[in-house]
Assembly symmetry: D2
Homo-oligomer: 162 residues x 4
Amino acid sequence: MQRSAQHQHLPQPMEPRDPQWQEKVRGSFARQKAMLLIGAELVEVGPGRCEIHLPFRDDLTQQNNYFHAGIIATVVDSAGGYAGFSLMPAGSDVLTVEYKLNLLAPGKGERLVAIGEVVKCGRNLVITRGEVYAVNNGRSIHCATMQQTLMTMRDLAKEKQA
Amino acid sequence: MQRSAQHQHLPQPMEPRDPQWQEKVRGSFARQKAMLLIGAELVEVGPGRCEIHLPFRDDLTQQNNYFHAGIIATVVDSAGGYAGFSLMPAGSDVLTVEYKLNLLAPGKGERLVAIGEVVKCGRNLVITRGEVYAVNNGRSIHCATMQQTLMTMRDLAKEKQA
Amino acid sequence: MQRSAQHQHLPQPMEPRDPQWQEKVRGSFARQKAMLLIGAELVEVGPGRCEIHLPFRDDLTQQNNYFHAGIIATVVDSAGGYAGFSLMPAGSDVLTVEYKLNLLAPGKGERLVAIGEVVKCGRNLVITRGEVYAVNNGRSIHCATMQQTLMTMRDLAKEKQA
Amino acid sequence: MQRSAQHQHLPQPMEPRDPQWQEKVRGSFARQKAMLLIGAELVEVGPGRCEIHLPFRDDLTQQNNYFHAGIIATVVDSAGGYAGFSLMPAGSDVLTVEYKLNLLAPGKGERLVAIGEVVKCGRNLVITRGEVYAVNNGRSIHCATMQQTLMTMRDLAKEKQA
C-alpha cells in the first residue's frame, strides 16, 4: 500500500516463537482430510505467510463450472489460518474465530492460488489477510480477498512446564 | 429477537417474484458438483429460506476430526445464497458478493444443519443471515453464524422481452 | 428465526456473572464522551441485551441529510458491546475485536434505535448481533444489521483475589 | 504483499471516469456535517485512494480516554467510501453496502490517520480496503483494518443524456 509523504508506516518483521514452526504447519495441513479431498497443496510456508494451490477439478465447481465459492473460501481460510499458526508458540493450536470474504471475480481457471499473511500478531488473537487468484493460461485474476481473526489455543499444561 | 415495549418492528412477508422459484432453486443446487462431492442435501426451500443438511464423513474433517471450517462455510454460504435466489425474478442468477462467518463451536456431530434466511430483499442486493448447527446424539449445538450480501444478476435480454 | 419441524434449537438463557452488571454497564456508558457528543441515550439494558437511542440532529448527517453511516455504526457497535459487557465477570473490561455491518436502508428519521443481543457467550469471546431501526413518523425501517466479536479483558489481579 | 516466485500479480492502474473526480470528492466531504462535528480533515485524495486525518479531542473518546471505536470506524468508512467515489462515473453517487472492521490496537494518540484504497473497481460494486494508524509522538501504531463494499448509484437520467 502506498503511503503519503506525510505518513510512513513500516511493518514489523514476523518472528516465529516455535523453532519447529515449519514442521508444525506442514504436519497439521497433512492431517486435514478435507484438504486431501479437494486436492489442495501447501506450496510454501514462511513466518506469517502461507500459500496454498488448488488445481481445477470438475467436482469442485458450482452451476457455471467455475470453482465453487465454498471451495475458494476453504483454501483461503486455511492459508490465513496457517500463516497465523506459523507464529504461534509451541504447544498451542489455532482456531478460526471468524473471517469475511469478498468474491471479486469468478473462480475461472486451471488453478487457484491462495495466499495468507499475518497483519497483526497479538498474544491471543492473530489478524490475517488472504488473497485468492485464479490462474488461467498463465494470466492471474484476483478473485477473492479475505480478512480473518484467529485465536491461539494455548496448552496451559505445557506452558507451565516451559 | 425480543423488542422492548417502546419498539416494535414487524418483518415483511417474503414474496417470490418467480412462480418457478422452487424448481429454479432445486435445479441450480443439483448442478453444483461441489455439493455432490461433499454429500450436501437440500432439505427444504421456502420463499426467502433454505435448509441444507450435511451428514458427517471422515473426509470432510480438519486435524481434530471435526467438520472442517471450510465445509461449514460451504454449506451455509449455499443456504444463504439459495434463500436469496428463491426471491429473485425469473431469468436472473445469484452471485455471492461477500459474507462474514463467525465460528461459535467445533463442528462436532453426525450432521450439520445449515439454515439461510433473507433479512432484506432489495432490487439488486439481497442480505441474508445463516446459522449452522451440529447435531450430535439428537442434541444440536449452534456452531456458526453468517451475514451475507448477494447480488441479483439480471438477464437484460430476457427482461426486455418480458 | 423459524425452524423446520426437523430441527428445533432452543437458545440458552443469559445469566449475568457480575451482580453489579447493570450499574457497571450504565457507568461505562456514562464515561464514553463520544456518546455524549452525539447525544446517544442508553434506554434499556438486560442480561445479554442493550438498546441505545439517538435523536436526530443536523450535525450527525452525511451529504443527503440522513444519519451518517459512521454514526449508525457507532451506536450499534456500542449496543452490541454493552450487551456483551452485561454478561462479563466482575473486574473485567470489554473490547471490540471486530464487527461487520450491512447498511440496509438510509438512516432517515427522527430517531435511531440500536439493539444489541448476545448470540454466544464464551469464556473469552462473546459474539453479538445488532440491529438498527430508523423511526420516522412512528414507522420503523430496518436500516442496518451487524455481527460482532467482543473479547473479555480480565483483570487477573482481581480474579486471584476472588 | 510479497509474492512467491511462482506467482506474480500486478495491480491494475486506477483510472478515474469522471474528469471532475477531485472536486466531486472534496465537495461531498464538505457537505458531511458529521465530519465537521468530529473535526475530520480530507488530507489527500487520488484516483482510488483517500486519506483522512482526525486530531484528538477529549469529546471523541471512550471510557479509557482513547479514540472511540465508532469514531475510528467513521473516519475509515469515509476514507474507503471516497477512495471508491473518486473512480465512479459522473452523475453517480456512492453508497456503503457493508464493511468489516478489525480493531488491532487502542486508538491512543494525538491524531488518527485513515487511508482508504480501492482493491477492485467493478461496474456496480467497488471493493476497498482501509487502514487506520494512531500517531503518538511521531510514532504510528496500526490500530484498525477494514474491508468494504461500495455500490455505484447511477443517475439513469444523466447516463441517457451522455
